[in-house]
């Protein structure tokens, strides 16, 4: 097995284009499980942990630009105010040791429907930056997930960054599992208000072949919300929102939970996150940077 160890992004892109079959490894928290258990013997590993450009976090126009190689720990430490939903999700990932190594880019690279970064990226309208020797392109998170573990990324491309819009309203993430730490979501949900353009974003995790949005629920809630007066929603509207979220899921029965339980849990999480978001919205907080 070859071990490619580029020191710069330019070298990394050249290596990926010369070896499109090479498996990128960043934090290694997905890749190493496969190697340790001999589930997969790639012909080459492409180590991205030395590419400092990938670990950077900065600003890009109206976006926060989070390097694909930034660890969950750094997301928690640095983005609590600027990307609250993603930071909330990062806090629920695994354990401190895994959060020190695991990255949002790795979560997107693996594209497991259970990955905790996906619902916040979907709900907040994040954009994923892909680069290859052919150039750089940007794909909305909402157009990134194609099928089980299949994404918009081409073989010669690397995920270089995630662009996160400045929050313009409350954002909340919720996840169901058997304990607080070290748990792959049985189901997860993210809700984000954009009070500037009066839209609502949603993201559903672990309840379908890919991370999903609940488009009908988004439209319903955006129309139902009293954006100006910030009056409370009726109980019927809250319940309807929960039902619409649950019906957008495409869950299956598996070892972690049944399809029925997942739908039930999603309706509960949808109502709960909506309660948190409304309470925050009524206080007039927008949680800007």
């Amino acid at each position: 097995m070859e071990f490619l160890s580029p020191g710069t992004l330019e070298e990394a892109l050249a290596a990926k284009s010369a070896h499109p079959e090479a498996v990128p490894i960043m934090g290694g928290t997905d890749v190493m499980v496969e190697l340790n258990f001999d589930l997969h013997r790639p012909s080459a590993l492409l180590d991205l942990s030395r590419v400092s450009e990938l670990a950077e976090c900065g600003t890009d126009g109206p976006h926060v630009r989070l390097g694909a190689g930034a660890s969950y720990t750094s997301v928690i430490e640095r983005l609590g105010g600027r990307a609250p939903a993603l930071a909330q999700a990062a806090r629920t990932v695994a354990s401190p040791q895994i959060r020190n190594r695991g990255t949002v880019g790795g979560n997107l690279g693996g594209a497991s429907p259970a990955g905790d970064a996906h619902p916040p990226l979907l709900a907040t309208g994040a954009v994923i930056e892909l680069a290859s020797e052919r150039g750089v392109r940007r794909v909305a998170a909402r157009e990134f997930y194609f099928g089980p573990r299949r994404t918009a990324r081409q073989d010669d491309e690397l995920i270089t960054a995630v662009l996160l819009p400045e929050p313009a309203g409350p954002q909340h993430f919720s996840k169901i599992g058997t304990r607080n730490a070290m748990v792959i979501a049985v189901a997860s949900f993210c809700l984000a208000f954009d009070a500037a353009i009066r839209t609502v974003g949603t993201g559903i995790g672990s309840a379908g072949p890919t991370p999903l949005r609940a488009a009908e629920a988004e439209e319903f809630l955006a129309a139902e919300l009293d954006w100006e007066g910030r009056r409370p929603l009726s109980g019927a509207a809250v319940r309807r929102f929960g039902e619409l979220v649950a019906s957008a899921a495409q869950p299956i029965d598996d070892v972690r939970g049944s399809a029925g339980y997942r739908r039930h849990a999603l309706a509960v999480m949808a109502r709960r996150t909506l309660g948190w978001a409304m309470a925050e919205y009524q206080k007039g907080e927008t949680r800007c940077a």
Binding site: F3, G27, G28, T29, L35, S49, A94, S95, P96, I98
Partner: protein, 185 residues
């Protein structure tokens, strides 16, 4: 491939490694450092926790090739007074675990020691208050112990943090405390 890095301050070279083998395997099988334990090889148990460039990580989740030029500190490196060549003294966290009865079979202990050492150096060692119980539980959430029921482990971490606090106060600042390892930033 040949991988050269430092372990507990000493430069080491592992020859003929398969680049996809884990740092844990390199430490135990190639470098004769069996302190870090192998219990799950999938990041779930924390018994292989080491410092990698000052940040704790499961060594089973790090590829050998990724370690080139890096600094690793293992449980073997938590003992005090090594540089004097004197009789090996246990570090504060190690002593506290022994005293509090936080060790039964001992398999989880090395990982817990490194993770607890990190918590204490990020709090007391950085001039902040000793961690409270929820902070201790959160820091150790990725370390499984099948024997102790955790209570004595929490007692041990509390005890170690108090002792470090006393030491820090006595020496007038955390920075002069020699037995700390988790320089983070």
């Amino acid at each position: 491939m040949r991988v050269t890095f430092t372990v507990n301050g000493d430069p080491v070279t592992a020859e003929d490694t398969w680049p996809g083998e884990s740092l844990l395997y390199v430490l135990r099988e190639r470098l004769g450092l069996p302190g870090s334990k192998n219990a799950c090889e999938q990041g779930e148990c924390g018994s292989c926790t080491v410092y990698l460039d000052g940040v704790t990580a499961c060594s089973c989740m790090v590829a050998a090739g990724q370690c080139q030029g890096r600094e690793v500190r293992t449980v073997e490196g938590l003992t005090g007074d090594q540089e004097t060549g004197a009789e090996r003294r246990l570090g504060t966290v190690q002593e506290a675990f022994a005293e509090a009865g936080a060790v039964q079979c001992g398999f989880c202990t090395p990982g817990l020691l490194v993770q607890a050492d990190d918590l204490i150096s990020r709090t007391v060692g950085a001039g902040q208050a000793a961690p409270d119980d929820p902070e201790i539980r959160e820091a150790l959430a990725g370390n499984l112990c099948r024997c102790t029921g955790y209570e004595k482990i929490i007692d041990a971490v509390r005890l170690a943090a108090q002792r470090e606090q006393v030491l820090a106060n006595a020496t007038g600042g955390a920075d002069s405390e020699p037995d700390k390892g988790g320089e983070r930033e």
